[in-house]
Symmetry: C2
Subunit: 244 residues, 2 copies
């Protein structure tokens, strides 16, 4: 069972105050890059794994998706998502580590910043592969391993006065417990290679890899994003169910 | 024109003393992982881009390759390679940035630690794609971007006394001038995503990604390799010329 940190009151309160929780997709700096990796939504049957407040589910319907199946482990997040009902969206509470989906039923599976909560992604990839139609798309974001690797994540300053992001244990794949928004949040550090090879081994073809970097326009509008050029926070991946 | 640092006497002398120069493939800790990504050599027509002293060229012939075409920019390295002549191996001096190869002529293109000397890999990828037969393999290693990113590469110690590898400018892709073996060596820092997407855009299918981590056995035999678990030095990639 995955840790259900989103239903802890301290975490949920802090998370609800994040820009991406208040403003939705437009509050997430990586959204334009992730959106660029998506197929046109028109007529698609979509699943959103780790749907949270349902921002993406509603966006997909707004952009022509035929249906969206939103899954999340957090009761509170689903309760808030349900306050914005929309024709074509169904929500279900489930742990992504033990998710079951009907076979050959989705044209697109989407997942934003959920996979780093899973100790092992192979079971979920098998579920996603079987749930997609042949040629179906899997597009997801996860925390970048440069961001998750450090024993003590945080910025530092080098001898020359430059801001640096010191990493260690990059190749030691295991849980990392951090105090992000609340104490004791458990995420799983995996290298890019491990994630990509799990996809290849799971019957997917990689179609795009993106290490999020804010654009100059984004940095002009939100100067605090400038530091994101020193180390990527998000890894975005697009893959296709192989037909072979 | 790429920098020909290998023909500078100070660099060449230092490089010639490296374990991988003295012992060949077995002196390179990433070789077993790279070898595991190679197809069986039997009967293959092989090109080795950045062949150096020719260690891989000779290994390929020893393992049944039909022919090996070794290319390098360094006159001195090719001169030494030529002192170990072997039936089936042809060497040629060329800059990989402006390489020409005959079309549909190779089953495998191999390249070890050469691509980070090229300001842009797209022209070489186009050459490799055209030179491979459909379904042919491209297997290569390059310095890992976590290794090449920092303005001031080197180990540091954090407040808790842990060894760290501070990075900055990971998403700023440009030349990095370092004093590796000799002053003023120019390498080009590219993210993993940029390298992978260049392959996908160039008509390749990604088949394996590997961020080199020494095995426990390697660390037992060479304790200095233990630090490589904190940050990867090498990125290994296997791809296939797409038939689509």
């Amino acid at each position: 069972m995955s840790q259900n940190v989103y239903d802890r009151p301290d975490f949920f309160a802090a998370y609800s105050g994040l820009r991406r929780s208040v403003e939705g997709l437009d509050g997430a700096p990586e959204w334009p890059a992730l959106q660029a990796m998506l197929p046109p939504m028109q007529g698609l049957r979509v699943a959103d794994l780790g749907c949270g407040f349902g921002w993406f589910c509603r966006w997909a319907i707004d952009h022509g998706a035929a249906s969206v199946f939103g899954v999340d482990l957090s009761e509170q997040m689903l309760a808030r998502a349900a306050t914005f009902p929309m024709r074509g969206i169904t929500y279900q509470r489930a742990d992504l580590s033990a998710l079951q989906l009907p076979a050959d039923s989705f044209d697109l599976v989407f997942s934003a910043l959920a996979l780093h909560y899973l100790p092992d992604i192979a079971p979920l990839l098998a579920t996603v592969h079987a749930a997609l139609v042949p040629g179906g798309r899997f597009v997801f974001s996860t925390e970048h391993p440069i961001f998750t690797a450090p024993s003590l994540p945080g910025w530092a300053t080098d001898e020359a006065g430059r801001r640096t992001w010191p990493i260690d244990r990059y190749l030691v794949e295991a849980a990392r417990t951090t105090d992000w928004l609340a104490p004791g949040v458990v995420k799983y550090h995996r290298t890019i290679a491990t994630t990509v090879n799990a996809l290849l081994d799971g019957g997917f073809t990689l179609t795009r890899l993106h290490e999020f970097c804010p654009t100059s326009e984004q940095i002009a509008a939100r100067p605090e994003l400038e530091q994101e050029r020193d180390r990527p926070m998000f890894l975005l991946i697009a893959a296709r169910r192989s037909d072979e």
